[in-house]
Amino acid sequence: MTPDTVDQIFVISKHWLLGYVPAMLQPLASAVLSVVPVLLAFPLLFAITTVLERKGLGRIQNRYGPNRVGPAGFFQFAADGIKSLTKEDVVPRDADQVVHFLAPLLLVIAAFLAYAVLPIGRNMVVANLDAGLLYFFAVGSMVELAVFMAGWSSHSKYSLLGAMRAVAQMISYEVPLVLASIVVVMASGSLSTVAIVEAQAGYTATLPHWYVFTPWGFAGFILFMIAATAESNRSPFDLPEGESEIIAGYYIEYSGFKFALFFLGEYLGMFATSALAITLFLGGWAAPFSFMTWIPSYVWFFVKLLALIVFFIWIRGTLPRLRMDQLMGMAWKFMLPMTLLNLFTAAVWHFLPNPLLRWPVCTALVVVPFVVLSRSMKQGKTLQVRTYRYAE
């Protein structure tokens, strides 16, 4: 088998399987054969991630983490899954039954729908839409509604507060998220995710042409990742589910399998935004060095995805939770100006063809506003070692 065959093995096997299907059912069978692997692969990744996350967080805090089920606790996800499946499904008496039931379903469906436009490997995308990026954000906006439905229908003050926080946070951070990804659209000239990956193809002396290796691309990637963390409600932006204040946020009244569905939806959303970050800035399924192209494209995609997931876990183990005003201030006073300036930087990069000129100019255009903004955010705040009157 040549490397190319290994790379295309899923595509080839799909066509081989389609050969056995009568011509009338071919479109349907093709869709099913594209969708089912996605429906299997990402929940499996979710299962692995929960174990990785718990073990990683444990090690960060000098603990063992789960180590009882299976070798080194690796099958903990199976135990968790069985537990959540067999638990009693409690619905509050005052809850809006229909909406309460629909909310987790809508969340998971919206999270799964986003995977339709993400290229997992070469020629491996469920639907190559012309407006793929727009589709991704359209589907992502449905998550907000699901979150609101969950919080409102539970008829509990904690879940309502959590839902309001989550919706406010998601709306605020959707603006920088979209603006940070628009620089890539400007550079590649297309909204199609496949075309964006193709625009980053090619190598200069073994180094790839990824957008992250440009000043605006790097800044865009960092801003995108911050916004993605906030969008997926992960620490340090996990106010909607801040345990110390509102217990579990919008899904507090859910139990058993519906709770597991919320968990799944949240992680699927995180994977989807990470995968979009890979597609937009990290060259999608492309290999990082030209001499490593023999490794199949989907392997590279999942390696990058796992790297970003590990980074998310690392961040979660490091940073404390923000306050609500800090969160909103971050979105509107730092992220929004930075993303808007980044748009300008990308335009300058496009219109300065001379690499000797455009590198310093664009780097300055990114670094100077960052320094100024971070100085201004710190203004009036004296940071000092905190003294405690009673606890010591």
Partner: protein, 169 residues
Amino acid sequence: MTLIFLILAAITIVGTAAAMSFRNPIHCILGLTVGLVGLAMLFLHLGAQFVGFTQIIVYVGAVAILAVFAIMMTQGGRRLTETATKPQITPSLLVGGTVAGAVFAVLGWAMLGRPSTAIHSVQPVVSVNQIGQLLMHNYVLPLEIMAVLLTAALIGAVILAMPQERGKR
């Protein structure tokens, strides 16, 4: 008149009718979302991909959430706002229903009475690129006006919704 059209039309009609008839305003918004998603699907079915996705982003992601926030800020925890009694036929209901029905009857009569002749049955291919080109060339003035309008709306909405300072009045 394909099956897909009928299904999508049914979703749209049921959703919007629910939005206008439920008593709980939050249910109304959820019904509206269903109806508008159905409408967006109709746009996609008609080949207008960009418009369909924009419809979902704007209506599901922004307008519905905005309306929900407005309801939560004006009614708080109260669930039923309009009369909790059974719906009854009032003169206003009769008049409103008659007006709406009359409008529908007139529009329907106009459409069915004069079947349109020129039917372009080939699905037009429209790329986002084309839309962008048009926006930046033929429609650049409307685009700028829209930008000004959106800015004005943003500032206006903020000023309207901002709590007035104490002692100013």
